[in-house]
C-alpha cells in the first residue's frame, strides 16, 4: 500500500511542466503510458501499456490495456481497482489518510508550491523549461517514501519519462506518450468510476 506513493509522486511529477504552462481551468490531461518493470527472478521485464486521464481536483484514471485490461481509479476518497468491470480491490482514504494528504500535495504543487515536495525529497533540477530533468532522493530513510528509492523524471511541456530505482536493485521505467490537454467533459463511464469510488 505504501508504494502507492510511487504513483502519486509520479503524478506530482507532471507538476513542474504543468506549472510552467499549466492546464487551463476546466482542462484535463489525456495520454498513453508504457510501463516496464525489471524485477529480479523474472525471465523478462513486466511490460504494461495503456491510457491515463488526469483530472485536476478529481483524480486519476489509469487503464491498463496490455497484457490485459484493468482499471485503477485514484481520488481523495481512496483507490479502486477493477478487472473486467468487477471490483477486485478497494482502499478507502479513511483507512489510509496519506492518500488525502498526497492529494493536497498534488494541489499545492499544481499551484507551483515546491516546498511540500522538498520536505520529503531532496530535489535537483537541471536543463531548461523546454527540456528538463528532475531527480528526487528520499530525505528520511526511515519514512515510507524511502522504499521508493531514487526517481528521475525528464520532460518538456509535460513529463515524458520516469525512472525509479529500488533499494533491492529492482527498477521501473515509465514513458508517457501522446499527451494532450482536453476540454470536453469526462466520458459518462469515467464519471461513473469516480462516483463508484465515492465523494
Amino acid at each position: 500500500v505504501r508504494r502507492l506513493l510511487v504513483l502519486f509522486v509520479l503524478v506530482l511529477l507532471c507538476a513542474p511542466a504543468l506549472a510552467a504552462q499549466p492546464l487551463a481551468p476546466g482542462e484535463r490531461l489525456e495520454g498513453r503510458f508504457v510501463q516496464e518493470r525489471h524485477l529480479k527472478g523474472f525471465a523478462q521485464p513486466l511490460r504494461t501499456e495503456g491510457r491515463f486521464d488526469l483530472v485536476p481536483e478529481r483524480g486519476l484514471i489509469w487503464r491498463t490495456e496490455t497484457p490485459f485490461a484493468t482499471v485503477t481509479v485514484i481520488s481523495a476518497a481512496g483507490i479502486l481497482q477493477l478487472v473486467e468491470g468487477k471490483e477486485t480491490s478497494r482502499i478507502d482514504a479513511a483507512r489510509a489518510p496519506f492518500l488525502a494528504r498526497l492529494y493536497d500535495l498534488l494541489g499545492g504543487t499544481l499551484g507551483g508550491d515546491w516546498r511540500v515536495l522538498e520536505r520529503d525529497f531532496s530535489v535537483s533540477r537541471s536543463g531548461t523549461d523546454e527540456r528538463w530533468s528532475v531527480t528526487l532522493l528520499p530525505r528520511n530513510t526511515a519514512e515510507a517514501v524511502a522504499q521508493i528509492g531514487q526517481m528521475t523524471a525528464t520532460g518538456g511541456r509535460f513529463v515524458e519519462t520516469v525512472e525509479i530505482r529500488r533499494p533491492n536493485g529492482d527498477r521501473e521505467r515509465l514513458r508517457f506518450l501522446e499527451q494532450r490537454p482536453v476540454r470536453e467533459p469526462l466520458a459518462e463511464e469515467d464519471e461513473r468510476l469516480f462516483a463508484r469510488l465515492g465523494r
Binding site: L4, Q44, T48, T72, Q81, E84, K86, T88, R101, E172
Partner: protein, 764 residues
C-alpha cells in the same frame, strides 16, 4: 434525668473523639454512582468483564487536536502527547502508531500466512471463484502501485496476506495512521488523535480535580503556543469532575440559601435566639453521632450516602421545633413540663421514622444500607439530645407575639373543620382529583441512567464531535464470548463474525473488533490452508508463474504444524493488538462501536453457545427500574410495619386515620408531578419513602395534640413543614435530573402531607 443527660454527653464525646481520630487518619469517601448500586449479576464472569471494560473506558481520555495546517496539527499533537505522557497521573499515551507496531504485526503473522485468509477470499474460493484472486494478483503485479517483488511472490504467490491485513478492522474507528501519527482528515482540517490511559483512582474526587486542572493547564498552554488550534476532549474523568464541581456549587448555593432561610424563619417565628441554638445543637449532634457510627460500621462512606443521610437527619430538627413551639402555649410552663407535652408525639415520631429507615435495610443497595444506618443513628441521637439536653439548657418563655402565630396556625384546622369552609374543601378536593386524573393519564416512568446525571453542556458537544470525527463511541455494548478452551472461544467468534458483518451492512452497528480477526481458530487455519492448496495453488500457481515469466523456485510450503495460537500471539510483540479483547485465554470480548439497533445485535448471538450481548448502561437502567419497583414495595412494607405501632396507641380505626394523610400524599404526589410532565423515577420513589416517614410524623402530632393545645401543635407541624420544604424542596432547583426529581417529589409530597395532616386529628 440529669444522670442520663451526663451519660449521653459521654456517648457524644466518645463519638466525637472517634470521628476526630478517623478524620485525622483520613476518611475514605467514594463517589462512583455504581458503588451505591448492588451487583446484580449472578454470573461472576459477566461482572468481571463489565468491570474490566468499565475500568478501561473509565480510565481512558480521548483528545483531538485540529488545525488547518497538517504540520501544525501534528506538532501540537506531539507536544500535547509528550506532556501528558510525562505526568505520573497518566499510565500510557497512544498518539503515534509506530512503524514498529505495524512491522511487529507483520512479523508475528507472516510465518502463518498459509492459514490466514481474508473472509472475502475464503468466500471466493469456497464458491470456486479462485480465478478472481488470480486476476487480482496479476492486476496488482502489473498495476501502477507495484507492491510485488520476487521475494513476496515467492512467499505469497497470490498476495493473500496483504488482503488479510486489508480486511483487519481499523483499530480506532475512522482514525488511521498518517505517516505513523494517528489522524483523521476532515474537510480542510487535520485532527491528530491522542488517547491516554490514566493512572490513579478516577472515581476519587481529588484525583478528578487534580487531573482536570492539570489538563486544563496543558490545553491553555498548547492553545497559547499555536494560534487557530482546536482542542476537543472527552473522558469519564472530565464528566465526573464537572459533575462533582457542579454538585459542589449547587450544594453550597442551595445549602446556603436553605440554611439562611431556615434560620431566618426560626428567628422570625420565635423572636429569640435560643430555639435556633437548640435546633443547631440537635442537628449537629445527630450528624456527628451518625457519621461516627456509620464509619465504625462500614469503614468508609459514600458521598451520596452522606448527603442523603444528612438530609434525612433534617427530619430530627422537627423534634426540637416542636419542643420550642411549646413556648407559645397559652399557659406558661417550665421546660420540663413542655417536654412532657411533646414527648409522646416526638417519641412515636422518632420511632416510626426509624422503622421507616430500617426498611431501607431490606433493599439490597449497599449505598442504601449506609443511608439507613446513618439516618437511623442520626435521628436517634437528635431525639435523645432534644429529650435529655434541651430542657436543661432552656431558659425564657413565650413572647407577646405568640397569639398571632397560634391564630395563623389555627387556620389549617379551621379549613378542615369549620362548616363555613365546606365549599373550599370541596373545591380543593375537586382540584386534587382533577390533577390526579390528568397525572394518571400522563403518567410515565423513566429509569435511563444517562438522563439521571446532568451532562456538562460544555463537554457533551465535544464528545459528539469526537464521535462524529472518529466513529469511536463511549463505553457501550459488547459481546462476551466464553469457551471451554481458547479454540472453542475463537470458533464461537467465527460463527458470530459473519452475522456481525451482515448486521453492519444493514446499518445495525458501525463497527466491531474481535480476536478472531487476527487469530483464526486452529480449525479454520487448517481448513483455509487446505482450501488455498486445493482450490488456488494446485490449479493456478504454475500457469500464473509462467504467465508472469517468474522463474524463481517456489518457496517450501510452511510445515503443517505451523498454526498461530492465541497464547503465542499474546506473547509476541504484536500481542497488544488484541490485549484489550482478551480477558483470559478462554474469555474474550467483541467490542461493538456505534450500535444503532440493540435488539437486532442481541439477536445475532442466538444459537451460538457461550456468546452473550452485554449492555452495561442498559443493565444499570434496568436495575434502577427494578429498584424503583422495589422502593414502592418498600413503602408499602414500611407502612405495614408502622401499623401495629400506631394501632397499639390509637386502635385500628385511629391508626388508619393517622395513615390516611400520608397515604393520600404518597398517591397524589407522583400523579400531580406527572400532570406537569415529570416522569416517575427511582429517585422519586426514594423521596416518597421520606414523605411517608415525615407525613406520619405530622399526622401523629395532629392526633396527639390535646384539644386545648392544638394550635401549638399545628404551629410546630407548620414550622417543620416549612423547614423541610426549605431544605428538600430547594433541591427541585438542581440541574441534575435525579436530584431534581427527588426534590420535586419531596416538595409536593410534604406540602400535601401537611395540608392533609389535620385529617388525622380528633374531631373538635
Amino acid at each position: 434525668v440529669r444522670t442520663a443527660a451526663i451519660l449521653w454527653l459521654l456517648v457524644v464525646a466518645t463519638a466525637a473523639a472517634y470521628l476526630g481520630f478517623r478524620v485525622v487518619e483520613g476518611v475514605q469517601l467514594r463517589t462512583d454512582l455504581l458503588a451505591l448500586l448492588p451487583q446484580e449479576d449472578r454470573d461472576p464472569a459477566v461482572q468481571r468483564a463489565k468491570e474490566r471494560v468499565a475500568a478501561a473506558f473509565g480510565r481512558r481520555i480521548i483528545v483531538l487536536v485540529g488545525h488547518e495546517d497538517r504540520a501544525t496539527a501534528r506538532t501540537a499533537g506531539a507536544r500535547l502527547a509528550e506532556w501528558l505522557g510525562a505526568s505520573p497521573m497518566v499510565r500510557s499515551v497512544t498518539h503515534a502508531l509506530h512503524a514498529d507496531a505495524v512491522r511487529d504485526l507483520g512479523q508475528a503473522l507472516f510465518p502463518f500466512r498459509a492459514g490466514l485468509l481474508a473472509a472475502s477470499d475464503r468466500a471466493r474460493l469456497e464458491a470456486g471463484r479462485g480465478a478472481e484472486i488470480v486476476q487480482r494478483a496479476l492486476a496488482t503485479v502489473y498495476g501502477p502501485a507495484g507492491i510485488a517483488d520476487a521475494r513476496l511472490l515467492q512467499a505469497d504467490p497470490f498476495l493473500l496476506l496483504p488482503n488479510f491485513f486489508a480486511e483487519l478492522p481499523p483499530p480506532l474507528g475512522r482514525v488511521a495512521p498518517d505517516e505513523g501519527v494517528l489522524s483523521v482528515p476532515d474537510g480542510g482540517r487535520t485532527w491528530v488523535f491522542i488517547a491516554a490511559q490514566l493512572e490513579g483512582d478516577v472515581f476519587a474526587l481529588d484525583f478528578q480535580a487534580r487531573f482536570a486542572g492539570f489538563f486544563e493547564g496543558l490545553e491553555a498552554r498548547i492553545r497559547a503556543e499555536t494560534s487557530g488550534l482546536e482542542v476537543l476532549r472527552t473522558g469519564a474523568v472530565f464528566y465526573a469532575e464537572r459533575a462533582a464541581s457542579q454538585a459542589n456549587r449547587e450544594t453550597s448555593r442551595i445549602g446556603v440559601a436553605s440554611l439562611a432561610a431556615t434560620a431566618t424563619l426560626i428567628l422570625v417565628v420565635f423572636r429569640a435566639a435560643l430555639p435556633l441554638v437548640h435546633n443547631i445543637l440537635a442537628m449537629g449532634i445527630g450528624i456527628l453521632v451518625a457519621f461516627a457510627a456509620s464509619l465504625f460500621l462500614f469503614g468508609e462512606l459514600h458521598v451520596g450516602a452522606l448527603l442523603f443521610g444528612v438530609s434525612l437527619i433534617g427530619i430530627a430538627v422537627d423534634y426540637s421545633l416542636h419542643y420550642s413551639c411549646e413556648r407559645f402555649s397559652r399557659t406558661p410552663t417550665p421546660p420540663r413540663e413542655r417536654l412532657r407535652h411533646v414527648l409522646p408525639s416526638i417519641a412515636l415520631g422518632a420511632l416510626t421514622t426509624i422503622v421507616g429507615y430500617m426498611t431501607l435495610f431490606f433493599a439490597p443497595f449497599p449505598g442504601l444500607h449506609q443511608v439507613a444506618a446513618f439516618s437511623a443513628f442520626g435521628v436517634a441521637a437528635s431525639f435523645l439530645t432534644v429529650v435529655l439536653w434541651l430542657p436543661l439548657l432552656d431558659r425564657g418563655g413565650s413572647g407577646p407575639h405568640g397569639g398571632r402565630m397560634l391564630a395563623a396556625a389555627d387556620r389549617l384546622w379551621l379549613l378542615w373543620e369549620a362548616p363555613g369552609h365546606r365549599r373550599t374543601r370541596l373545591l380543593l378536593g375537586a382540584l386534587l382529583l382533577l390533577g390526579a386524573t390528568l397525572g394518571a393519564v400522563r403518567f410515565t416512568v423513566d429509569d435511563d441512567i444517562r438522563r439521571m446525571q446532568s451532562l456538562s453542556t460544555e463537554l457533551k458537544p465535544q464528545e459528539t464531535e469526537i464521535q462524529r470525527l472518529t466513529g469511536i463511541s463511549s463505553a457501550g455494548f459488547f459481546f462476551l464470548v466464553r469457551g471451554a478452551t481458547a479454540e472453542a472461544a475463537l470458533q464461537a467468534e467465527e460463527m458470530l463474525l459473519p452475522r456481525l458483518r451482515r448486521a453492519q451492512e444493514e446499518g445495525a452497528l458501525a463497527q466491531y473488533q474481535a480476536v478472531a480477526h487476527y487469530i483464526p481458530s486452529t480449525a479454520r487455519q487448517q481448513a483455509d490452508r487446505t482450501l488455498v492448496e486445493q482450490r488456488l495453488l494446485r490449479p493456478y500457481r504454475d500457469r500464473y508463474y509462467a504467465q508472469l515469466g517468474f522463474t524463481a523456485e517456489p518457496a517450501e510450503a510452511p510445515a503443517a504444524s505451523g498454526v498461530l495460537t492465541l497464547a503465542d500471539f499474546l506473547r509476541s510483540r504484536a500481542g497488544d493488538a488484541v490485549r484489550d479483547l482478551v480477558l483470559d485465554e478462554t474469555t474474550h470480548i467483541v467490542v461493538l462501536n456505534g450500535v444503532v439497533r440493540p435488539a437486532a445485535v442481541q439477536a445475532l448471538a442466538t444459537g451460538i453457545p457461550g456468546v452473550a450481548l452485554i449492555d452495561p448502561t442498559g443493565d444499570v437502567t434496568r436495575l434502577l427500574g427494578a429498584y424503583r419497583g422495589r422502593a414502592v414495595l418498600l413503602l408499602i412494607a414500611s407502612a405495614a410495619l408502622m401499623l401495629p405501632l400506631l394501632a397499639w396507641r390509637y386502635g385500628l380505626g385511629g391508626s388508619l386515620r393517622v395513615l390516611l394523610p400520608s397515604t393520600l400524599a404518597l398517591a397524589l404526589a407522583p400523579l400531580l408531578l406527572a400532570a406537569v410532565g415529570l416522569p416517575f423515577t427511582f429517585f422519586s420513589a426514594m423521596a416518597l419513602v421520606l414523605v411517608l416517614s415525615m407525613g406520619i410524623d405530622y399526622a401523629i402530632f395532629c392526633r396527639e395534640g390535646a384539644v386545648g393545645r392544638r394550635s401549638v401543635t399545628m404551629l410546630g407541624v407548620g414550622l417543620a413543614t416549612a423547614t423541610t420544604l426549605l431544605s428538600f424542596g430547594l433541591l427541585t432547583l438542581s440541574s441534575a435530573f435525579a436530584v431534581h426529581a427527588f426534590g420535586a417529589t419531596m416538595l409536593v409530597g410534604i406540602a400535601l402531607s401537611f395540608m392533609l395532616a389535620p385529617l388525622a386529628g380528633k374531631k373538635n
